[in-house]
Symmetry: C2
Subunit: 238 residues, 2 copies
DNA sequence: CAGTGGTCTAGACCACTGA
DNA sequence: CAGTGGTCTAGACCACTGA
């Protein structure tokens, strides 16, 4: 696999910036100078520098040139893999246990539920995720039947949702295009504590995710993990 | 501000994919067909499709063409703003209180500390973040004096670190290029609980971040927030 | 107002790969 | 093996903006 010239140029400067050889605010050579240096056309150099700008390593300004960007603290990449996949990646057996399943209307005054339902009804699914048989997380999920009518049959019917639970089923059938995830800590409620096998008030990581497909809300899910059993990792860098 | 043609093409297809009009696995027109449709050269079309691929909305394969990608669950963008900035953005007064500051060698057997020190010594800074005077987070920080010798004088000297604490000082003086953040939940220790004004064992959100500048480790910081006072938000989508 | 990057053209050759 | 995208060229015109 031969690397392309534009990627070589991009990687050259990415390395020099990350090594600190080029400091924030420093100016890179102009496109014309780089054409000369690398013996290539301006489009090739432009592609390399545009890619560096997209990575956030440089900032490009007309007349002023291409400057090494000041690092941004925001915009780290958060890995949020499918729970079943993550458990199995660690060599453990994964299982989802459906505890309760009911169809209902959104609760009045619950703005999140009303917006999710979009005038239709909701499917409420409570379940428990297990790793090697041990409880890993309690999950409360609401699914919009307006957006995913097929879910009623899947959850209540003979066929079922499969071993991996409603999250994986939804991913396979109705992939989302937008998502928002909120992460916080909270003490386990008595009910959650009983299911997880911890004391009430035990420090838990709470992950709440809403997903959409275009404008249409699909699902709202809240997962509660005992803090010592789960963590999330975010990275910024190469 | 006139939008460029390649961005118009990119936005056209991004909208159609997000609306669900084009489903995962569907094939986009070939570059040649798009040249015809938009009356432009292939480079322009190529730029638009390459950008869509970088966004993760399409996958490009030779011979097979450009296909709408199956959504990925990973790779959400996590906002990790400067704590001082985030508190002020909510209209509250921010303050950092330095509780303890000492210079020491890394503890033997603590692999993280030894790697951070890189043969040199460490500065240990304990502090409390406040929002409107109320404790928001306890912070334990280690800084590599090999990487940031100026920090000794800044922290121990007359000048001090400024109102915003060592995190903001470091950002201004030694911007990082790589970072790893680990997020979990844990019960407050007795010491943490006393500082935060909560009960011991109270559910707290723990954020642990390591930063590097190129190959050089800069700092390792652990922040502990009462769960009800702080949450993190990650987004995927437009 | 001169230098910079942004965009675009109309070609070209090629590697890859699935019909 | 034909069609696809990947890459690259050698130009061009232009908008923007900071010296």
């Amino acid at each position: 696999m031969k690397t392309s010239l534009h990627d070589t140029i991009r990687a050259d400067f990415a390395a020099r910036i990350r090594a600190g050889e080029l400091a924030p605010g420093d100016r890179l050579p102009t496109e014309a100078e780089l054409c000369e240096a690398y013996g290539c056309s301006r489009m090739t150099v432009n592609k390399a520098l545009t890619a560096l700008a997209a990575e956030g390593l440089v900032e490009r300004r007309k007349r002023a040139g291409t400057l090494v960007a000041h690092p941004r603290v925001h915009a780290m990449v958060l890995d949020v893999p499918d729970l079943a996949a993550r458990v199995r990646a660690e060599g453990q057996a994964y299982a989802y246990e459906l505890l309760a399943c009911s169809e209902r209307s959104p609760q009045r005054g619950e703005a999140g539920e009303v917006a999710l339902a979009a005038g239709g009804r909701l499917l409420a699914l409570d379940g428990l995720h297990r790793a090697n048989g041990r409880p890993l997380a309690v999950e409360h999920r609401l699914v919009s039947l307006a957006a995913v009518p097929a879910m009623r049959e899947a959850a209540l019917g003979v066929e079922g949702l499969g071993e991996d639970g409603p999250g994986t089923w939804l991913l396979r059938h109705i992939p989302w295009t937008e998502a928002e995830t909120r992460i916080t800590a909270a003490g386990a409620t008595r009910e959650e504590a009983a299911l997880l096998g911890v004391a009430a008030g035990h420090a838990c990581l709470c992950i709440e995710r809403r997903t959409w497909r275009g404008d249409e809300a699909i699902t709202l899910v809240r997962q509660v993990f005992p803090g010592e059993l789960y963590d999330l990792v975010a990275r910024f860098g190469p």
